[in-house]
């Protein structure tokens, strides 16, 4: 599906050290055989260091458990749609409640690219006006929100009863986003996550 690789969300690049404004048109491209080189183990804490690919037996053990499995292509498609939506929001007239300011769009694309690179499930989207956009995930009765504005990112984890956690980051901290997403991921998922991409079959899985 070559068209996916050229969409607006993918262009923010995969390098967390590159600020949103520095490389707006850098594409996250697949390898020559059309695969994305993702193969990481996220353990319980903040460690996002790439690890060796899980052994076949370990993958099999994880695969047979009753956990949600999302194909990598499906994930790409969802992020592609997210990117399109964000892009459309910047073109709306001023005063439209879905309109998004350009600086917010740039940071949102950067954050989305980071999420996608880390194989985080694609979020649902809403906003409070032009100054921010909110990424939202549900897990059971709990909700995770990432509120992205032009100069900061804030995470909120809530249950029906209470606010469980709120964390706020400045844009500068956001530039070391691997640590941030590791923290968010470990808090939210509270368990081991394995992301695999099979080079031979172009099939990928997220097991959580």
């Amino acid at each position: 599906m070559p068209a996916i690789y050229l969409q607006s969300l993918v262009i923010a690049g995969s390098n967390p050290a590159v600020p949103p404004g520095d490389s707006p048109n850098k594409a996250l491209l697949p390898s020559d055989v059309g695969n994305y080189p993702i193969s990481r183990t996220f353990s319980s804490a903040f460690d996002l260091t790439p690890a060796a690919a899980p052994s076949e037996s370990r993958l099999l053990k994880m695969s047979v458990s009753s956990v949600p499995i999302i194909s990598h292509l499906e994930l790409m498609q969802e992020y592609h749609e997210l990117g399109e939506t964000l892009s459309e929001m910047t073109t709306l007239d001023e005063g439209d409640e879905w309109q998004l300011e350009a600086p917010v769009f740039n940071v949102a694309c950067y954050v989305a690219a980071e999420l996608m690179t880390n194989a985080f499930p694609a979020p649902q989207l809403f906003n409070h006006g032009p100054k921010s956009v909110v990424f939202n995930w549900s897990r059971g009765l709990d909700n995770l929100y990432l509120t992205v504005s032009s100069d900061r990112l804030s995470a909120l984890i809530s249950s029906p009863e209470r606010i469980k956690r709120r964390v706020e980051y400045s844009l500068n901290e956001l530039l070391s986003a691997g640590r941030i997403f590791g923290a968010i991921q470990s808090v939210y998922l509270d368990q081991q996550v394995i992301v695999t991409v099979s080079g031979a079959s172009d099939r990928s899985e997220i097991l959580s």
Partner: protein
């Protein structure tokens, strides 16, 4: 413009309109409450609800919602941007109490809010209209993140929905009211006895009559 503090025990309703509170076909609870910056203060955000005191029956509650969607469509017509297949459709209402709104000011995780108030504020000819107002701390605080926390807590303080299909929307094949999800606090209850209900109904008609006289 009339205004006044609404008591803690009062029931409020938030009306859900498609597509505003939806994400495509799916209802999106986080979009139920829409917060607006108060341009005069810049440290306060506001939202709209309706006060049950002036919507004494379910018919009145839904009448408010149908008028709300109708006015949105009329506004689009006047702007020349109305499209029949994407018109606004009222779907139903969710209930919460004034006390639940005010509790946000002292809630753990919402330190940025110094006051949360619910005020009766007649607007656009609707005597039941009420305003939620959240006052933020001064200084460099996380306003946008706090808005997210507010809409999350407001949704979790809701019960319902009371689903409804307006007369003008009977032609809609797959009405979005079916897609409304149950609120965290379960079914709506007004907790009113027969006498209270009669008194509220009488008071509503008196107020409506008086308001119409003032308009004339």
């Amino acid at each position: 413009m009339w205004f006044g503090r609404i008591p803690d025990r009062a029931n409020l309703f938030r009306h859900s309109v498609h597509p505003l509170a939806f994400r495509g076909k799916r209802f999106a609870p986080q979009k139920l409450f829409k917060l607006y910056d108060d341009k005069q203060t810049e440290t306060e955000v506001i939202a709209s609800v309706a006060w049950q005191k002036y919507l004494p029956t379910e018919q009145h509650i839904h009448g408010y919602g149908c008028r709300l969607a109708f006015k949105m469509n009329e506004k689009k017509r006047q702007q020349g941007t109305f499209k029949e297949n994407s018109r606004h459709i009222y779907c139903g209402a969710y209930q919460l109490t004034a006390a639940a709104v005010r509790r946000l000011a002292n809630m753990e995780g919402l330190d940025q809010i110094v006051a949360a108030e619910v005020t009766h504020l007649i607007e656009d000819g609707e005597i039941a209209h009420a305003e939620l107002r959240f006052v933020f701390k001064a200084g460099n605080i996380d306003v946008e993140g706090t808005k997210t926390a507010i809409v999350d807590r407001l949704w979790n303080a809701c019960s319902g929905p009371l689903r409804h299909i307006c007369e003008c929307d009977h032609d809609v094949a797959s009405h979005p009211s079916e897609d409304l999800t149950h609120a965290p606090l379960g079914e709506c209850t007004d907790g009113l006895g027969r006498c209270s209900r009669f008194w509220i109904l009488a008071r509503f008609h008196i107020c409506s009559w008086f308001l119409n006289r003032v308009r004339e």
